[in-house]
């Protein structure tokens, strides 16, 4: 579980997070939505100290990872990060390693796992995300959707207790979004604790246990998907959702708010 308490963060003179508090309960999926620049990605990155929160406290599985601008000492921080999977918008696969090496490298380096064992683990995870046939190719030959699925497998190889997703489908061609969301949905169903920053309203609606709306560095509203999408209380939330629908109607945003992209998937991976 993730507990965020009164977190502040500034970049220079720009206040990006202003007194944000949020709890991501265990085995639940919390989806954070909101306009660009609302601070949602920064909030997510603060959760494994890729950004250092200036004030406040963040706890992962009851252990403080950062309090009042002071992160854990390096060694403990590394250990905690190993248990906190992170998936990036731009995949960040290691281009000099094959797909399976990408997945098995961290268990070997960080956990000291034997290579054969790590390879077996990695192959199992690649099978899970439908990429076992791509194990021995380099990431440059993969499609965007395949890259992101490989990146998810890489994060899972560390057997994380919490998964953070930073706009995992925003860099993908629209037709590749579904395959990544399907993998994430499976994870959620298996009881993974997930915090997902996304613009995929269909995913938020179907998979999220809680939807959190951020704007201007604050959480303006949070609740069940039904509540947020059908009966939002805050004007900011309504404005944001309206803008999404308008954008969609204008063709600017290919993901529909009403329809679920998961429905169009050709079966399970």
């Amino acid at each position: 579980m993730i507990e965020i308490r009164n977190v502040y963060k500034s970049f220079g003179s720009t206040e990006v997070l202003k007194d944000v508090s949020l709890t991501v309960p265990p085995s639940r999926t919390t989806v954070v939505i909101g306009p660009s620049g609302s601070g949602k990605s920064t909030l997510l990155r603060c959760c494994n100290c890729l950004e250092i929160a200036d004030r406040g406290e963040i706890r992962i599985n009851h252990r403080t990872i950062i309090a009042d601008g002071k992160p854990l000492p390096d060694k403990e921080l590394n250990a905690l990060r190993a248990e906190t999977g992170m998936v990036f918008q731009s995949f960040n696969l290691f281009p000099h390693m094959t797909t399976v090496e990408n997945v098995m490298r961290a268990p070997v380096v960080v956990r000291g796992m034997a290579k054969a064992e790590a390879r077996e683990l990695a192959m199992g995870l690649l099978r899970k995300v439908g990429l076992d046939d791509k194990a021995d190719v380099y990431p440059s030959t993969l499609s965007g959707g395949q890259k992101q699925r490989a990146a998810i497998a890489r994060a899972l190889a560390m057997k994380p207790k919490v998964m953070l997703f930073d706009e995992p489908t925003s860099a993908l061609d629209p037709e590749l979004v579904g395959e990544v969301l399907q993998v994430m949905k499976t994870l959620a169903e298996e009881g993974m604790t997930m915090m997902v920053v996304t613009h995929e309203m269909g995913f938020a609606r179907e998979v999220a246990d809680t939807v959190v709306v951020m704007a201007d560095g604050r959480i303006v509203e949070s609740g069940s998907p039904e509540q947020i999408f059908t009966n939002p209380v805050q004007e900011r939330t309504r404005g944001f959702l309206r803008a999404l629908v308008d954008g969609h109607l204008a063709g600017a945003r290919p993901q529909p708010v009403a329809d679920d992209p998961l429905d169009t998937l050709p079966g399970n991976h």
Partner: protein, 220 residues
């Protein structure tokens, strides 16, 4: 005026012996400069470590801002005043290595900084320490980008090594001068010496290019 290459042919064994010394000096200096360049380049990535960063920056500024010949003479003629009497060969290798290392460090730093930040972040997010992430993820990628500029540095190093002849090291340059002092055929001998350097620099370039090619092919 006629050219007479007879002294060159006659002195060929000495010239080749000198060439071997040149290769030895250059290779040893290359290793030193690689180690030094890697360390200093990585240290200079992080100004937050003030003392180390300060020392590394002063090193780069001083070495790049003064002539190699002066540095070599400081080692060879200057240090004995402190009772430190290093063999000529050691002075040559250390001097060349330190000099080249300052340039290599900038190559290393530039190559590392050109690697997308997300690579380091992804490695750290998996629990790798800074050192592990650097070694496993960033440096292997940066290494490939270092090769072309490193080729230039290697060429400069080979050519600069001619200066160690002034430290009484019997490299190809000094062997050439020795032949001239008895034959007085400066033009012919220096042409031969220049040709030898030409072959050495191009051989080094070729080797580095093969390495670069292999790394490219390996990644599909």
């Amino acid at each position: 005026m006629t050219l007479d290459f007879a002294p060159v042919w006659g002195g060929l064994p000495e010239l080749l012996k000198g060439t071997v010394v040149t290769i030895e000096v250059t290779a040893a200096a290359f290793l030193l400069s690689a180690v030094l360049g890697l360390l200093v380049g990585i240290i200079r990535l992080n100004p937050a470590r003030r003392v180390l960063y300060g020392i590394a920056s002063a090193y780069v500024a001083f070495i790049r801002g003064t002539p190699l010949l002066v540095q070599l003479f400081l080692l060879f003629f200057g240090l004995p005043q402190f009772g430190i009497l290093l063999p000529a060969m050691l002075c040559g290798v250390i001097g060349l290595g330190i000099y080249s290392g300052s340039y290599v460090s900038e190559v290393v730093r530039g190559a590392i900084q050109s690697i997308d930040r997300g690579q380091m972040e992804a490695a750290r997010s998996l629990g790798m320490s800074y050192r592990e992430a650097m070694w496993e993820v960033v440096l292997p990628q940066a290494f490939r980008r270092m090769l072309p500029p490193l080729g230039n540095e290697t060429i400069a190093l080979i050519k600069n090594s001619a200066l160690v002849s002034l430290l009484t090291i019997d490299d190809v340059m000094r062997e050439g001068q020795r032949i001239i002092s008895t034959s007085f055929r400066a033009l012919e001998v220096y042409i031969a010496v220049a040709l030898i350097y030409f072959v050495l620099t191009n051989a080094a370039t070729w080797i580095l290019r093969q390495l670069e090619k292999r790394l490219t092919v390996e990644r599909g």
